[in-house]
């Protein structure tokens, strides 16, 4: 019975479907027997034939994930491409403009790959899950047309943006070109928001929609702006920036490692630094978007939240902690190694070992499981499901404390890196540094105090969860205020010498690759979590999954599929980068010899030194 489930759609619905789901419906019509088409109504099979060897579920999984990885890249990179272009315009520094163009060049082929994998996904859904697709097409038909239209505009805006770069390079035309970059981001963001509505509807359909509700009765806007739509939108915008930065970093690392000249090496060292800065900078705020998403999931359905955090997926968060630990360690390691190319930064290097201790301890706490899955004998030996010593570290209070301290430490790392070659001349330096130190101390005390207070028996769970807000606020306020003070502090500072861009050991570049792979794998893991919490429902508590792949697999199986997806993605990205090199007329070869960036350019970049300088290259 299960594999012969049928959905019956009336003729008006079919007309709507034909009008709106053009690709899907046309293919379905092609596939269905004529005898069925001739009937008053058409019976659309819930499922198509099982996909050979790997099965339908894995086929769709791979198509969706690889599509999403490319999509994240082409949505994330334009964001910081326009920022780099803006810095170039404002500061008059040509290298930022060249960097922005090089970012954009990476997008061209990636766009094609995104569209190809999007096509694979749609055809996969139409042929393997026609019932699910038909249901969604009936509800979301208008948005699917808008999506296609915007994708068209987005693609051609990108072509104009890239190919018009040299033509509209100066004067008012340059601002017009910059406007194209903004427009590219607007189209891309709307496209993502539309697609997000489809997938979030599957997670959190409106309360008024039940198993017996016909899709024609579902109100469009109610389905579109469902409970988890906006949290996913926000989370994905930030995650795309993180991901784009990481992939750009890996690209730059490869170009650095294969560079033939000092100029080239300096350029790609700088580009890798910028990519890493973007990735780690956005990563720091990503957990807060994650909290918001998690809270909305609990608000929507407690059971779903419990499944995610305390049910069969609870150990997924241990893997996530391990991965984020790698990200923090690799990101900080890159900064610490990078101090080697900054004259004057050696005075800060002794502090790195203490920061390493904080990071390692933080990772250990974060990766401590709360509930142990154990045999009865093991449970008896432990005296319960919690480990007698480690159990208390496995609760969210301890984990929140650990991750907030790790964020503070990473921020401190960046601060020291940034100050590396600065000889401070500000007359208020002593007071500013005292205030900065005080801010760090207060934030640390707040984070630790709330973390410890959460263990008091009088503190209920709901109050304890609320403590994380104060911890996060303390850290965020510290980051903002200390950064502002630092900008003031370093204004007019003398230099111990220019940054020797290009003077980085190869191991630092391999760290950028580890970062890129880890970010990508983490996206796959979180995608599995988001999708998996629906369990055996195509649309949560509305449309049951009765296919052979209805059970949600264990983490080991999921990890294997995720790794395969990441491998496919990186193989294709390598091919794209290779194509980019083929067409490369060398950005750096054309550019003038590397020069020290102007102070104005530094200021516009938020104070961070984002430019290569070859002043004292040996």
């Amino acid at each position: 019975m299960r594999d012969r489930v049928r959905t019956t759609l009336s003729r008006p619905v079919l007309r709507l479907l034909t009008l709106t789901g053009a690709v899907g419906a046309a293919l379905l019509a092609f596939l269905l027997p004529e005898s069925l088409l001739a009937q008053e109504t058409i019976q659309i099979p819930m499922y198509g034939e099982e996909f050979p060897i790997i099965g339908s579920r894995v086929a769709i999984w791979v198509a969706a994930e690889v599509h999403l990885l490319f999509a994240a890249f082409v949505l994330g990179v334009p964001m910081f491409a326009v920022v780099a272009e803006f810095i170039g315009i404002r500061g008059g520094e040509a290298r930022y403009d060249a960097l922005a163009k090089e970012f954009t060049r990476l997008l061209l082929v990636a766009y094609s790959a995104t569209a190809i994998w999007g096509g694979i996904l749609v055809f996969g859904l139409v042929t393997l899950y026609p019932g699910v697709w038909s249901y969604l097409a009936v509800i979301f038909a208008p948005s699917m047309w808008v999506y296609v239209g915007l994708f068209f505009f987005e693609s051609f805006t990108l072509y104009l943006y890239y190919y018009g770069w040299e033509r509209w390079k100066t004067g008012r035309a340059k601002w017009g070109h910059f406007g194209l970059g903004i427009l590219l981001n607007i189209w891309g963001t709307i496209v993502m928001f539309i697609a997000n509505s489809w997938l979030t509807y599957m997670m959190s359909p409106p309360a008024e929609v039940g198993p017996d509700t016909s899709p024609t009765m579902v109100k469009f806007w109610s389905a579109f702006a469902n409970a988890t739509w906006m949290p996913i939108n926000i989370h994905r915008i930030i995650a795309n920036v993180v991901f784009g930065g990481a992939i750009v970093g890996a690209y730059a690392a490869h170009r650095f490692l294969t560079a033939k000249t000092d100029e080239e090496r300096a350029h790609y060292d700088w580009m890798g630094y910028v990519g890493n800065l973007v990735a780690i900078g956005a990563l720091i705020i990503l957990p807060f978007a994650g909290y918001y998403l998690g809270r909305e999931i609990y608000e929507f359905n407690q059971q779903m939240g419990i499944t995610m955090m305390g049910g069969f997926m609870s150990w997924l968060w241990i893997i996530q902690a391990f991965l984020i630990g790698v990200l923090f360690l690799a990101g900080n390691y890159y900064l610490w190694v990078g101090m080697g190319r900054i004259p004057g930064a050696e005075r800060y290097i002794p502090y790195t070992k203490y920061m390493l201790v904080v990071l390692v301890l933080g990772v250990m706490v974060w990766a401590t499981p709360h509930t142990m899955i154990a045999s009865r004998a093991e449970l008896d030996a432990m005296g319960g499901q919690y480990h007698p010593f480690l159990g208390p570290l496995g609760v969210m209070g301890a984990k929140n404390t650990a991750v907030n301290l790790m964020i503070l430490t990473t921020f401190l790392s960046f601060l020291l890196y940034r100050r590396g070659n600065k000889k401070i001349t500000n007359p208020h330096a002593s007071d500013i540094v005292k205030v900065q130190f005080g801010m760090f101390a207060i934030a640390t005390v707040v984070v630790l105090a709330y973390g410890i207070y959460g263990y008091f028996p009088s503190v209920t769970a709901i109050v304890r969860i609320g403590f994380s807000v104060y911890q996060v606020l303390a850290v965020l306020i510290t980051i903002v205020v200390v950064t502002a003070l630092d900008t003031w502090l370093l204004k007019g500072a003398d230099s111990y010498g220019e940054i020797r861009w290009g003077h980085m050991p190869p191991r630092s570049q391999y760290a950028l690759f580890i970062l890129a792979v880890t970010f990508t794998w983490l996206m796959g893991l979180m995608g599995f979590a988001r999708s998996g919490i629906r369990q055996h429902w195509h649309i949560f508590e509305v449309m049951r999954d009765t296919s052979p792949g209805a059970a949600t697999p264990a983490l080991g199986y999921a990890a294997t599929v995720i790794s395969a997806c990441v491998l496919i993605f990186f193989a294709l990205v390598a091919f794209i980068f290779w194509l980019g090199n083929l067409a490369d007329t060398s950005t750096t070869a054309k550019a003038e010899p590397a020069v020290i960036p102007s102070e104005g350019a530094r200021g516009a970049a938020g104070g961070a030194d984002l430019s290569p300088a070859a002043g004292d290259r040996t």
Binding site: P211, D212, I319, V517, A559, T560, V566
Partner: protein, 280 residues
Amino acid sequence: MSDPSGGGSNVMVNVKIVGIVIGTLGLYTWVANAIPQVESQVPQELTFTGEVTTGELVAAGEDLFLGAGGCTACHGLGERAPNLRTGDQSGSTIGVRCAARVQGEDCKTYLYNSMTNPNSYVVEGWDPIMPDMRVLLSETQIWALVAYLQDQGGEVTVTGTDIEATGGGEDTGAAASAPAGGAPAQTVAAAGGDDPLALLQNNQCLLCHMLDGEGMQIGPSFDGIGARRDADYIRESILDPAADADPAFQAFVGLMPLTFGSTFSASQLEVIVQYLADRQ
């Protein structure tokens, strides 16, 4: 300076990069496979008839409780919901304490009602987080769970007759006959077809709302409600009781189940809304 990176040929660089990528992926895959592997299973269809034995029911219930039913996510630790297999403050397991939970309800009735109308049976001190299990499981599966829970220290009184009486039995599992995801249990939950009065009675609305002088005044009376409120308000109140609750009944708003959005079909909901809106 010619080559501070110290790198060799591009081929060697590429080989190292491939090694790092594959090594990193291998490490993560290995770690994920090294931890405990838990799969979220689909509840198995049960094809019990009136001849089913107590042992079969208890065994099926145990499988559901510990596995696909997802019960232990909340009832396993005693943090989110009472731990049913170990003692509560009174020291008794659920099979022992169930008969004394609600006056006038025997153990079997209490357990069944707790699963099908959980918000009316929230144990003091716990939050109303339990879903109506008919959305997730078939009647047969629910009865198997009742049998298993009775077996935790008590006497199992569930029989095949109970299953048949509630429309369970062969091939009636929620997963078995779900159309595009439809759980047939919904038709049981929203029994009454399109008759608004039957829907109100069968879904115990009149336990808290008065209609034609009958029922209780825990929630706003249905008599004359159409003169006080419009259809949109009534619909919203059914789907989301706390959204704009009548201040006079604010204290009791938590008693109103949150599950009517999934209990009623869209047409049933509209029938009820129109029926109430017409009561001027």
